[in-house]
Amino acid sequence: MNETLAAIAETLRGILSARCDAKALREADGGAWSGDLWSALEEAGVPGSTIAEDAGGLGLGLEEAVFMARVAASHAAPVPLAETLLAQWLWHSAQGAQPAPEAPLGQRLTMHIADGLAPVAAGAAISAELARVPWARHADVLLLVIPNGDRCQLVRIGLAATGVRLTPAANLADEPRDRVHLTGVETGPRDVRSLARPAEDVLAMMALMRAAQMVGAMEAAVAISVGYANERVQFGRPLGKFQAIQSHLAGMAEELAAATVALEQAAASIGEPARRPLAWVAKALASESAGHIAAASHQVHGAIGFTREYRLQPLTRRLWSWREECGNEAFWYDKLGGLAMHNGADALWPWLTDISPSSGAISKSATNSGAT
């Protein structure tokens, strides 16, 4: 871990451990906005950290964003941090119609890829119905991503604007996943930017942020399980002395290690389009492991883990939700398998060696890796 990340981790953990206790999580489950937590994060400059430096942010990149999302999720922090960090970064990576002066995108952001929409002219009014938009009810701005060939359009929608209506919905962890109805919502020229990446890249980045959250939640679930196995005595011995429990915990550690390595290598190379499939791998492995690790954690815990007051369920309910969001493992495995078969049998090994960030700058032979 480099020094920047270590410093971020310390700051974040200080904020989170005090403000993500059982009471706070229960209130968030009930629909309350975790305003104190968010304010503390804002005071520390966290949500705005991926805003470009010339626009008043810290100019952190996605690798740091991934790390922050992971740490926040290990505390089950009920705030749209992952969404805000990514949306800010995308907005500031994109070209605005009128580059200066730089206007802030918003404070509490959410985003959504609108596959069904055609690119809009600046100033046009937008009507659409968007399902399962994360945290919409607590966000002030929605960043709409509209596919446009090998680019995409980013459209800033103020959620307090006329023509915006929400129907509340939630995931299994009670995180808001609202339906957003847009009826002739007007956009100004400063609200539309063009991003030099295809929408499937943005989806991969969203998936990577979810993978980061899953790794964080899995780390916490494994740590809690180890602690419980050391404390709880059964048949006169600590649980952890039983081979069956050891086997559960070792299996959890293995899957978590694989998912973590996959996450870190994808985050380290998020700027290289030829290594984009690493994000697919990261989300796929995290999604598959999430189910196994959640089940094994509950298996280790027995009945106590099934209660709402115990601290395992905020993590496992998130894992069960996040694994489906932004493409589950079947979705990303399918895409990766399609790529491998498209590249052909003899290209598999060179592709495997090239795709790894350990190989340094990528060679020509891997440039077909984006095609499917």
């Binding site: 209660t307 369920q313 069960w320 939700s321």
Partner: protein, 379 residues
Amino acid sequence: MLPTFEPALLPEDVRALRAHVRAFLAAEIAAGHWSPRANSWTIFDEGFSQRCGAQGYIGMTWPKAYGGRELSSLHRFVVVEEMLAHGAPVGAHWIADRQSGGQILNFGSEDMRRSILPRICTGTCYFGIGMSEPDVGSDLASVKTRGERSNRGWRINGTKVWTSGAHRAHYLIALVRTEPRGESRHAGLTQFLIDLSRPGLKISPIENLAKERDFCEVVLEDYEALDEEVLGGPGQGWKLVTHELAQERSGPERFLSDFNLLVELIRRLDGAAHARKDVGRMVARLVALREMSISVAGMLARGVSPELQAALVKDHGMQFERDLPEEARLLLPLEPGAGTADPYEQQLARTLLFAPSFSLRGGTREVLRGIITRHMGLR
């Protein structure tokens, strides 16, 4: 050495009984009393239990003198599997019908039988299980709830936990240590009938991660039990609880909890070719599990103890129940959550949240696997 599952033939009159139950359930659903739900044996519905009682669907195997019908375990099996397969809310009478009534019939006093069993049969008297304690899961012999002799009988102190529906039930059967733990861990334990309407009890529901309040904590503070409320006699607790667990492990709820999810999955798949293989696998496993379960019911009907076979069906069935939602979510992906009207989405969300509990009831996997290997001749 290897377990055998003798085939059982359902009695001829089961056909009519099954048709009767199906008609009853179809009418219930048509009347809008409830909708089919996965894991329906945790759903408490007094009205439904009373209507089941009116149909004679509770306590079917018990003597007519106590309100029963003197039918076989196979008859009961058919009624129970129909209820579960249709996702009917059997939770209120479930424990009483499955295990507590049998304990009272076999080990209770004649007064107890006469006063309680007929009420169970009418679907108006409900039970909770009083085995587990805060630091006692699979290792039941280590229960810490203590019973001491008192003037009137016994004074009981301790805490029972994970007692399903205790806040809505009338009784529970509690496993209590009545003599200090000696050489044999299994000696000195006694089962008591606990009347939940009496003083000396503090019952607090425990919210589970699906936000339902099914489990309770029951604190006994100088609860006074009468001598005649001892089941089977002081010190007989281990034998009795073993019998009770065998009943708890043997039923079709061990693989039918989320059957309704499979039904709704097939409906939503609408013949999708990519899903054929995985759907077929689930169906094949169900075919075998159901046949094994019928064989266990047949053993009960013949008076043979199915300890091995019941443990085996439970462990194998539990694995099936846990696999099913995981298969479903890959065949028909969606983001599960609250507040959807779609039956498949509802069942999937519910089953995902309940899946961790599938392995809790009736003993952990390790306990079951220990029973299995012991019977297989592992020394």
